[in-house]
């Protein structure tokens, strides 16, 4: 554990040093424009406005209440636009933040990259795998700077988790269990009554997440974050996925599933070491008991990860001399059977967990991912913490999950 921590610390120190080197190269702040100023867009504007070497020069949205809010957070110096092309031509920003509905990502990101503007795009990268493949090609051809908004990559807890897995603290990972369970209808409120003739149009606009033409549902909006964690911890994308999902509870006119369950297979290792790791993903909307978290199950330990706290439980091994004598357990365990060194059982289902080692967050990960992006723009470094290639792999991972559920068959990971 100590070794892993030291490694992580030296890694973080070296990236901080790089960041400072970048900042000293040029004193002018990076000029940033933001398109899409709804809920997530405003989160990003607020975070950007706290970053010393970034300046928000313009915001853009075609829905006035959102545009007004975005401009309010961005400040009076930011110009407001309703057309992306006009904004890019008139303000010539160095970077564009894309936080629009999913179906708009491809065209907007392409327009910016082709104009030589760096792009930070909210997840998921694109509405289809074909679009993501094309966009990754355009970014590569233009040597553009692109970062996908998967903020767990900038979160200290997830970085620590990666270091722990790399250093072997978890042993061999057998399975990962990801879930995002909530108890609400995932609807944004609409500002006119339901019998108003504007309601259907406003509902489609504000609740774009619920309609297939603009969204890929829970897989694009939630699973993208967590399947990226699985891909990183397992060193690459899955080979195939099985899925089952449906609109089982919120039958309110939505078109995307409210109950999704996917089972991904990953091939890890090579030669005689080659084996399959299974990853489950679920998201349900009428029970919040398990919340949003990922459980990494390894032969030597278990990691429970959330955005605000991580917990590591060492797996009790048969050679662990203190297994039954752990603090506070001797009296409570009704029976402990020891037969040579082969078997230890307890009637206490929690006995194998022990006291967890806690990993704390040390900052807001949305701000951290933007600090990282701005730094890459300043240094003109395309190797962002989640580049277009990573974005394509992420999009393919979650979109084949949807395809497996819709078509009710096993889908192989595509050639990308």
């Amino acid at each position: 554990m100590t070794e892993a921590q030291t490694d992580r610390r030296s890694f973080l120190l070296s990236s901080a040093a790089l960041a400072m080197a970048g900042a000293s190269r040029d004193d002018e702040p990076v000029r940033v424009a933001v398109v899409g100023t709804g809920g997530r867009g405003c989160d990003l504007i607020r975070a950007l406005s706290t970053i010393d070497n970034a300046e928000i020069v313009a915001v853009c949205d075609d829905y006035t209440p959102h545009l007004d809010r975005g401009q309010n957070y961005a400040g009076p110096k930011a110009r407001a636009f309703t057309s992306l092309s006009k904004m890019l031509v008139e303000t010539r920003p160095a970077a564009l933040i894309v936080a629009t509905p999913l179906d708009r990502h491809f065209g907007m990101a392409r327009e910016a990259i082709e104009s030589g503007i760096a792009v930070f795009c909210e997840k998921t990268m694109c509405h289809t795998i074909d679009q993501a493949r094309e966009l990754a090609g355009i970014v590569k051809a233009h040597q553009g700077i692109f970062q996908l908004g998967l903020q767990r990559r900038a979160n200290a807890i997830y970085r620590q988790a990666e270091a722990m897995v790399e250093s072997g603290m978890l042993g061999a990972i057998s399975a990962i269990d990801c879930r995002w369970h909530r108890h609400n209808n995932w609807r944004r409120p609409v500002p006119v009554p339901r019998d108003d003739q504007r309601w259907p149009g406003l509902d489609r606009r504000l609740n774009w997440r619920l309609f297939r033409e603009s969204s890929q549902g829970l897989m694009s909006e939630l699973a993208a974050h967590q399947m990226d964690v699985a891909n990183r911890l397992l060193g690459g994308p899955p080979v195939r996925v099985l899925g089952s999902g449906g609109i089982d509870y919120w039958r309110d006119g939505r078109e995307v599933f409210d109950n999704v369950h996917c089972l991904y297979e990953y091939e890890v290792g090579s030669g005689l070491e080659k084996r399959t790791v299974r990853v489950t993903y679920s998201s349900i909307q009428n029970n919040a008991y398990e919340g949003a978290s990922e459980l990494i199950l390894g032969t030597k330990g278990t990691l429970l990860l959330t955005q605000s706290k991580g917990l590591f439980y060492k797996e009790a091994g048969v050679d662990d001399p203190n297994w039954s004598a752990r603090e506070g357990r001797v009296e409570r365990d009704a029976s402990i059977i020891t037969s040579g060194k082969t078997l230890k059982l307890s009637n206490d289902p929690w006995a194998h967990r022990g006291k967890p080692f806690e990993i704390e967050a040390n900052g807001d990960d949305t701000r951290a991912e933007l600090v990282d992006f701005i730094d890459h723009v300043r240094r003109k470094d395309p190797a962002t913490i989640c580049d277009a290639r990573d974005g394509l792999i992420n999009a393919a991972t979650v979109l084949i999950g949807n395809q497996a559920m819709v078509e009710r068959k096993t889908i192989e990971f595509p050639l990308i």
Binding site: R46, S49, G75, N184, R188, P189, P191, P193, A361, D364
Partner: protein
């Protein structure tokens, strides 16, 4: 803030109410993430960790919140103080630069603590969401000590709020009920039931408050009520009685034990509701 927030919304369309309620609760969570001193990922934590070493750039909302808090320090004659260590005149150790939108803490031991502001502010931010989506009748509260009321109940009557006996460990031991519409209400108490130590300070003396008392403020704004209930309690009854004569628009209940009986004194020109 580590507080439970609960909202009652009144309207015709349950799906709409639920969506608006979730959006309003999201705003409360956002404000919590911004202002909580105990959340290491909050912006206040970033200020507390870094702003003594260098000016810290903050967003427009937090800048206006901190400015407002420093304004309240003056308006309350120093009794509303967001610097946690209670250095006398601590407001002068916090400087804001409006051009660069930065905050600086000029003393190494100064920390910002917006505990006496955050709940009222969070309720007002949540109420803006209700207004935006056409909900005119609602009660919102944070931990029951901070309440925001919008409009009247569905039958046209005002909302009935009970002021609890702050010294009783019995649940729902109400001292008095008041009927209100469009108000902010906040109650601060020197001791919480069951606690033997006060978590409220007299920022002028730099000492914890010791005299058992509670102060409820009813005003138009939840933030104002929140700030004044804390500040008046820190002033003590005599100074508070004098202070509120200049605040005719608020109602102030001073709750304290007199000869083993808990009594309410309504301070100031507002009188009693």
């Amino acid at each position: 803030m580590a507080t439970s927030f609960e909202f009652w919304l009144v309207g015709e369309d349950p799906d709409h109410l639920s969506a608006v309620g979730e959006a309003a609760l999201d705003e409360v969570s956002r404000v919590e993430r911004l202002l909580s001193r105990y959340d290491r990922a909050s912006e206040i934590s970033r200020i507390n960790q870094e702003a003594h070493d260098h000016p810290v750039r903050i967003d427009r909302e937090l800048f206006s919140v901190v400015s407002d808090c420093l304004g309240w320090l003056d308006k309350t004659l120093g009794y509303f103080d967001i610097t946690a260590d209670c250095t006398p005149n601590s407001g002068k150790w916090v400087t804001l630069d409006p051009d660069r939108q930065t905050v600086r803490l000029l003393h190494p031991s100064i920390r910002l603590d917006l505990g006496g502001y955050g709940k009222g502010y969070a309720l007002e931010v949540a109420a803006r969401v209700l207004e935006e989506f056409g909900i005119g009748s609602a009660v919102l509260h944070g931990g029951t000590s901070s309440i925001l009321i919008r409009g009247r109940q569905a039958d046209g009557s005002r909302w009935r709020i009970g002021l609890r006996d702050p010294f009783s460990t019995v649940e729902n031991s109400e001292l008095i009920q008041v009927d209100l519409d469009d108000s902010g209400i906040s109650t601060s108490a020197v001791f919480h039931p069951g606690a033997d130590r006060s978590d409220l300070m007299d920022p002028i003396r730099g000492q914890p408050l010791e005299e058992p008392a509670a102060c409820s403020v009813i005003g138009r704004s939840a933030t104002e009520a929140e700030v004044l209930s804390t500040a008046l309690l820190a002033m003590g009854r005599d100074r508070a009685r004098e202070f509120v004569t200049r605040w005719p628009e608020i109602l102030v209940a001073w709750i304290a034990g007199v000869d083993e009986v808990v009594a309410i004194e309504w301070l100031g020109q507002g009188g009693r509701p």
